[in-house]
């Protein structure tokens, strides 16, 4: 699978503005720094619970979300920090949530596995594997019935593909030509199980043809390739030609969760994928362009570090939910009207 991943050709960047490309890199760097800080907060004992992290998969989240409009939606999984940061949630509201504070994006009631913000087009993370797929089909059905031009991008992992919910959700979306982009972040492992142990045909995008719609496999560690593929898919969906299945080939640099030592990833496999790190690769082509210097990237990194440090300090002192908060947010309220505010 890695063999199909080639270097990013620098001339592909030619048609893009410098600021846009830098914003893609900055968003990926923000996710990486966020996840690394969270990792150390866990190791230091400052953050309780287990955490599912996405170091190595930054390009999938950033590339997809950069191609969506502000009023488009995403659904996410238990590994949702990157999706949230890409969809415009702030590090502060995420860290507050991870520390269980009432200022968190879910008022401290969701935690790491359920981050989201309905105001920003992200349904709180759906931690059941493949659980988001039928839900996204339902959201897309709503868009179609409302004659809206919105689309939903539904993130899930390779582990979700062999679940029954995948078949049910994708089948209905295909039948009704719904505006849903099914985004499979194929990182080769469902928890600790290699994809080859759970499916005969490991090319996930092939599944789309059997349901009668288009599927595409994309280098998921190339943020620009992900962005372009998502743009195409979103356009098709908006013109009534959805859904689309995008298989983004990527790799998780950490264990499934904080307590997973990840010993099932072979050393040579890790090394090969690490050499295709989405940040390093994109930084290299940015530098080749000429108008982005290493100093610019270093400066950007320093700025992000400061931002995260401040957010961590603040999150650790953020107010916790009170007894009375148990009785709020029990019934759904964030409908269309609320989102349009």
């Amino acid at each position: 699978m890695i063999d199909s991943i080639a270097e990013i050709a620098a001339d592909r960047l030619a048609g893009y503005e410098r600021d846009f490309l830098c914003s893609l890199y900055e968003r990926m760097a923000l996710i990486r720094e966020f996840e690394e800080r969270v990792k150390f907060l866990f190791l230091e004992g400052a953050m309780p619970g287990t955490i599912h992290q996405c170091q190595g998969q930054e390009a999938t989240a950033v590339g997809v979300c950069a191609a969506l409009n502000a009023d488009d939606w995403i659904t996410s999984t238990f590994r949702g920090h990157g999706h949230a940061l890409s969809k415009g949630l702030t590090p502060q509201e995420l860290l507050d949530e991870l520390f269980g504070a009432r200022t968190g994006c879910c008022k401290g009631k969701g935690g790491s596995m359920h981050v989201g913000n309905m105001e920003k087009g992200m349904v709180p993370g759906i931690a059941i594997v493949a659980g988001g797929i039928p839900l996204a089909a339902g959201m897309a059905l709503a868009f179609k019935m409302q004659k809206s031009s919105q689309v939903v991008a539904c993130f899930f992992g390779d582990g979700a593909v062999a679940e029954g919910a995948f078949h049910e959700g994708v089948n209905m979306a295909a039948l009704w030509r719904l505006p849903a982009i099914f985004v499979c972040e194929n990182n080769l492992y469902g928890a600790s199980t290699h994809i080859s142990k759970v499916m005969k045909n490991t090319r996930v995008s092939d599944r789309a043809a059997s349901y009668g719609f288009r599927g595409e496999t994309v280098d998921g560690n190339d943020v620009l390739a992900v962005y372009e593929a998502t743009r195409r898919a979103a356009d098709e969906c908006r013109f009534g030609n959805g859904p689309v299945l995008l298989e983004l080939l990527t790799y998780r640099r950490t264990g499934h969760s904080r307590r997973d030592p990840c010993s099932y990833q072979a050393k040579d496999e890790r090394e090969r994928w690490f050499s295709r790190d989405p940040l390093d690769r994109f930084a290299a082509v940015l530098r080749q362009r000429g108008d982005v210097a290493q100093a610019d990237l270093d400066q950007l990194k320093a700025r992000i570090e400061t931002q995260i440090n401040e957010a961590v300090e603040k999150a650790q002192r953020a107010p916790l939910p009170q007894g009375a908060d148990l009785l709020t947010d029990i019934f759904a309220g964030a409908g269309k009207e609320e989102r349009k505010r």
């Binding site: 150390f40 866990f42 400052a46 309780p48 307590r259 961590v312």
Partner: protein, 347 residues
């Protein structure tokens, strides 16, 4: 400045984490994120990364040590304020998470793993949400409470009651004067003798199989200033009632003196508990795990008994045996209780 590193919460349960080996020697330089120590949890072995950039000054746990999450495992010497380490370092200098915040100083950070919950508790105290009065449990009472709860929740108890003629015991106690025998000493003798033919009582239930106990002891439950302890009498069949009586007295004295060794939990095959002195006629007790049974002894009191067609007055004692049904059935336990009654009556 010094920075302490605690064992991260890497076990999926609350169980201890085994330290396999240090990957950095004391005195060596180390970087934040560098593999520092290899550990083993219930599930897997893994490398734990250093939280600090600096020099590993001291290790506080050695290979093969069992360490709990939150326990300090390493001390680093770190310089200045590198990102991340500042925050961790400041934690070590903060005295306690319950210190009161003032207008100028920010609220203290949670001190360690489980900090969120510590923080909830601190917040609850500060905001006086908790208004009901609360009394702290003594460490012993906490242990007893936990063990008794586990016993009642996991052991299918059943109870058998009988009574025994206590006249011979009363005579035996008089014969031992001037040094009075502790009543329990005689019951320990009786139970010890009865156990000889009922070895299944000495077995233990472990993961769906019975394991023979390696101990030969009968425990005596004692209340010391409101705390419950067990004085274990080893090899009771090899001792006289006088020896056992002295042993129980000495055990209680050591417990009253706060001897930590005497307070440690020591396994026995069966415990006896006696509330006769407190005027209780009969009661049923909770098994002291991992034992199979517990004998509850009531007050020795005169009773009207029909003997060979005649009503006679006789001192009797009520004996209630609580038994683990996973290990023995009713008939076996009944035969065992009869054996105890016989031993009491022939004393």
């Amino acid at each position: 400045m010094e920075l302490l590193m605690k064992m991260p919460d890497l076990a999926t349960t609350d169980s201890a984490i085994k330290l396999i080996r240090w990957l950095v020697e004391p005195g060596q330089a180390v970087k934040r994120g560098q593999p520092l120590v290899e550990i083993e949890t219930d599930k897997a072995t893994s490398e734990v990364e250093s939280i600090a950039t600096g020099v590993l000054k001291q290790v506080r746990a050695l290979p093969d040590d069992m360490v709990f999450a939150g326990q300090v495992i390493a001390v680093f010497e770190v310089a200045g304020a590198s990102p991340g380490s500042t925050q961790a370092a400041s934690q070590t200098s903060i005295p306690s998470p319950s210190a009161k915040p003032s207008a100028v100083t920010p609220a203290p950070l949670p001190s360690q793993s489980g900090g969120l919950f510590a923080r909830n508790r601190a917040a609850a105290v500060q905001q006086a949400i908790v208004k009901t009065p609360a009394a702290a449990l003594s460490p012993t009472q906490r242990t007893v409470g936990r063990r008794m709860q586990a016993s009642k929740q996991t052991i299918p108890h059943f109870y058998l009651q009988a009574s025994a003629n206590a006249e011979r015991m009363i005579l035996r106690r008089k014969a031992a004067a001037p040094k009075k025998l502790v009543w329990d000493a005689m019951f320990v003798c009786a139970v010890g003798n009865a156990l000889k033919k009922f070895e299944r009582i000495c077995w233990r239930f472990e993961e769906d199989e019975l394991v023979a106990s390696e101990t030969d002891a009968v425990g005596v439950a004692v209340d010391v200033q409101g705390d419950l302890y067990v004085v274990a009498i080893a090899a009771p069949r090899s001792k006289t009632a006088e020896q056992i009586s002295d042993e129980i007295r000495a055990g209680v004295e050591r417990l009253e003196a706060g001897d930590p060794e005497a307070r440690a939990i020591r396994p026995a095959n069966l415990t006896i508990t006696n509330l006769g002195a407190a005027n209780v006629e009969s009661f049923a007790a909770i098994i002291n795990p991992p034992e199979t049974a517990i004998l509850a002894i009531g007050k020795i009191a005169p009773a009207a008994v029909v003997q060979e067609g005649q009503v006679v007055i006789q001192n009797r004692v009520s004996l209630t045996l609580s038994v683990d049904h996973r290990i023995v059935n009713g008939k076996y336990a009944a035969d065992f209780l009869s054996a105890i009654v016989r031993e009491v009556e022939v004393f």
